[in-house]
């Protein structure tokens, strides 16, 4: 296990160094009309064309094809963009420098054209690209280039797709990001669970723990360097902190009881909020990681759990059954009287504050069905985005536009998978993982 991770770590470091070579001043805001607004209504996806990137060195063809494919999957996967199939293309792009025949792309109604080239030398892959506004007949921003070791080619593709997304929506992307989750195997009554990390699209899965103990609900730190999770390694469920690079984990002293779970970092990464169970009572606590000071934030005999900070760190949303059923509440981060925000039918749990601050995502149970939904922070404008036998545990993409969650299928052969859905509820996608998967936590844009 350690070996695999050490390898992964080495790759990561190489990438970071390589990406430092990206051309400066490249991302430039465009002021043309070509922009797609991310709204909550129905929209027509923006049509784009992306001919396979040109291979500029003999060994680069395979990377060029794969990188182009991943870029297209990223963009089309958002539901905001629609790729015009290659066999409809009239022009062929054979050189990165040759002029674009805009008429040929207009003729097939491509609004956006993405061109690029890939070279490979001494185990390093370099990709450069340009984005074209076909109907205006000009370039959208300036071209850029990224480089990495050859096994990091997927990150290069995600970097390019993030740039395209960002220039066309005016918002930051989320493709070059990772998700920590629980990998699952075996039937429901003998399910083996281990922590794993993957790219947002399910590629490059690496395991962080073995499956000897039950592990639950990992949560990334804001910078992605640490992971909080709950493990039964010591017998009882206890919050653990894992250093992703070193693959070392330790129990976080919880105070107040033996069982601790449902941890999350504060936005500055310095504090952890979590639940502690003592007897029949579950309350929310906060621990300052530097000082070790532990503060109890809720004091009712009810179940209070699943706390999540607002992005400015001033408030905490959580669930409580103090009213008789699970509902959502917001309290100051220092504790104090909470305000109930959920009033619809059914039970509400696992609230998560959007990184944009505007919405709270949650799991809702109503009439035997589970839903992932969002509401404004005052509880208004509730919208359910999914419905199934068992959907739960949403996590936000770093730009606050997409949610990922677990879906367990019904029955004796039921298995758990990860799905993503955009905040408008238009595009539901299953994330491809090698085994069953649950409890995703989306890390920062890298």
């Amino acid at each position: 296990m350690k070996q695999v991770l050490a390898q992964a770590l080495a790759l990561g470091l190489a990438l970071v160094a390589a990406l430092g070579l990206a051309l400066p001043n490249a991302a430039q805001a465009q002021d043309g009309p070509l922009r797609i607004e991310i709204t909550e209504g129905t929209i027509e996806p923006m049509a784009y064309a992306v001919p396979s990137f040109v291979a500029e060195t003999p060994g680069a063809q395979q990377y060029a094809d794969q990188i182009t494919q991943v870029i297209a999957e990223d963009l089309t996967g958002t539901g905001l963009f629609r790729e015009i199939p290659r066999d409809a293309h009239i022009s062929r792009i054979t050189s990165f420098e040759s002029p674009v025949q805009f008429a040929d792309w207009k003729a097939i109604n491509a609004l956006v054209l993405l061109t690029g080239a890939v070279s490979e030398q001494d185990g390093r892959v370099t990709v450069k690209f340009r984005i074209w506004d076909v109907f205006a007949g000009n370039e959208l921003g300036e071209g850029m280039q990224f480089a990495a070791t050859s096994d990091g080619w997927r990150r290069l593709a995600h970097k390019v797709a993030d740039q395209v997304y960002s220039r066309l929506t005016g918002e930051s992307g989320y493709f070059d990001s990772r998700v920590v989750f629980v990998s699952e195997s075996g039937p429901k009554d003998q399910r083996a669970k281990r922590l794993a990390i993957m790219d947002y699209d399910g590629a490059n899965v690496q395991y962080l723990t073995d499956s000897r103990s039950i592990v639950l609900a990992p949560r990334f730190s804001p910078n992605g360097e640490r992971v909080l999770y709950t493990s039964y390694e010591s017998g009882e469920p206890r919050v653990h902190v894992l250093n992703v690079g070193a693959v070392q984990s330790q129990i976080m002293p919880a105070g107040g009881g033996v069982m601790s779970f449902a941890p999350r970092f504060s936005p500055d990464g310095n504090k952890v909020v979590y639940s502690v169970t003592s007897g029949s009572n579950t309350d929310i606590y906060m621990r300052d990681l530097a000082s070790g000071n532990t503060t109890q934030l809720t004091f009712t005999p009810a179940i209070e759990t699943a706390p999540s900070f607002s992005p400015d760190g001033s408030r905490i949303v959580f669930e409580s059954d103090r009213s008789g059923s699970q509902q959502l509440y917001i309290m100051p981060a220092s504790g104090g009287e909470p305000t109930r925000i959920s009033f619809g039918q059914g039970r509400y749990g696992t609230p998560v504050w959007s990184p944009r601050g505007d919405l709270i995502a949650f799991t809702k149970q109503n009439q035997g069905r589970f839903h992932i939904g969002v509401m404004r922070t005052d509880g208004s404008e509730e919208r359910l985005l999914t419905a199934s036998h068992l959907d739960e545990g949403p996590t936000w993409a770093p730009n606050g536009r997409v949610l990922m969650f677990s879906r367990e299928t019904q029955g004796a052969s039921g298995t758990s998978s990860l799905y993503s859905v955009d905040v408008a509820g238009r595009k539901l996608t299953r994330v491809r993982t090698p085994d069953g998967a649950s409890d995703p936590s989306w890390g920062p844009l890298q």
Binding site: R212, F261, T282, H389
Partner: protein, 176 residues
């Protein structure tokens, strides 16, 4: 007799496993009695350790019943559950060398975090009842498994009803 002696061997192995766990309750990481140690008490007349031996864990698990069931999203004890726990308390009082871990469980109809808390409520209600019937508190502890360890895997009430449970897992104390 052949398979009986095999059963005895198995319980002896289980007992060993419990001893190496380093936890005096001997239920480290187990669920539904994975860590249940066995007493090799010598009793005249019946096969020691078998379900016929009233002092055996097998008797506790099978004849008395090691588990009580709960209603949907509830942790209060039904009259039926109380009757089972009365018998459990009697056995634990008689067999004072044993410790017990009470494992609380929930069905899959609930979010993961809430179900851990709900399982704890169920285990705690069970423990408090046993204490009220005279079992020393320092012989008991609780663990919640939430919805992580169902015994039945269908997605129907028939299965859910069996998964909403508190299981009393007994093990030998260190001093015995």
């Amino acid at each position: 007799m052949k398979h009986l002696s095999k059963a005895l061997m198995m319980t002896a192995v289980l007992g060993l496993a419990a001893c190496t766990s380093g936890d005096r309750f001997g239920a480290n990481g187990g669920a539904d009695g994975y860590g249940a140690g066995a007493g090799a008490g010598a009793n005249g007349g019946v096969v020691p350790g078998s379900a016929n031996d009233p002092r055996s864990p097998a008797y506790f698990n099978q004849t008395i019943g090691d588990r009580v069931l709960f209603r949907v999203d509830q942790s209060s004890l039904t009259p039926e559950a109380q009757a089972t726990l009365d018998a459990q308390a009697g056995w634990l009082t008689t067999n004072s060398d044993y410790l017990a871990v009470i494992e609380g469980h929930a069905d899959e109809q609930g979010t993961r975090e809430y179900n851990i808390a709900l399982g704890a409520r169920r285990a705690n209600a069970t423990m408090e009842y046993l204490i009220s019937k005279g079992v020393a508190p320092n012989r008991l502890k609780i663990i919640s498994y939430g919805k992580e360890r169902p015994v039945e895997i269908c997605s129907e009430e028939a299965c859910y009803a069996k998964n909403r449970r508190a299981v009393t897992v007994i093990s030998m104390g260190l001093g015995s």
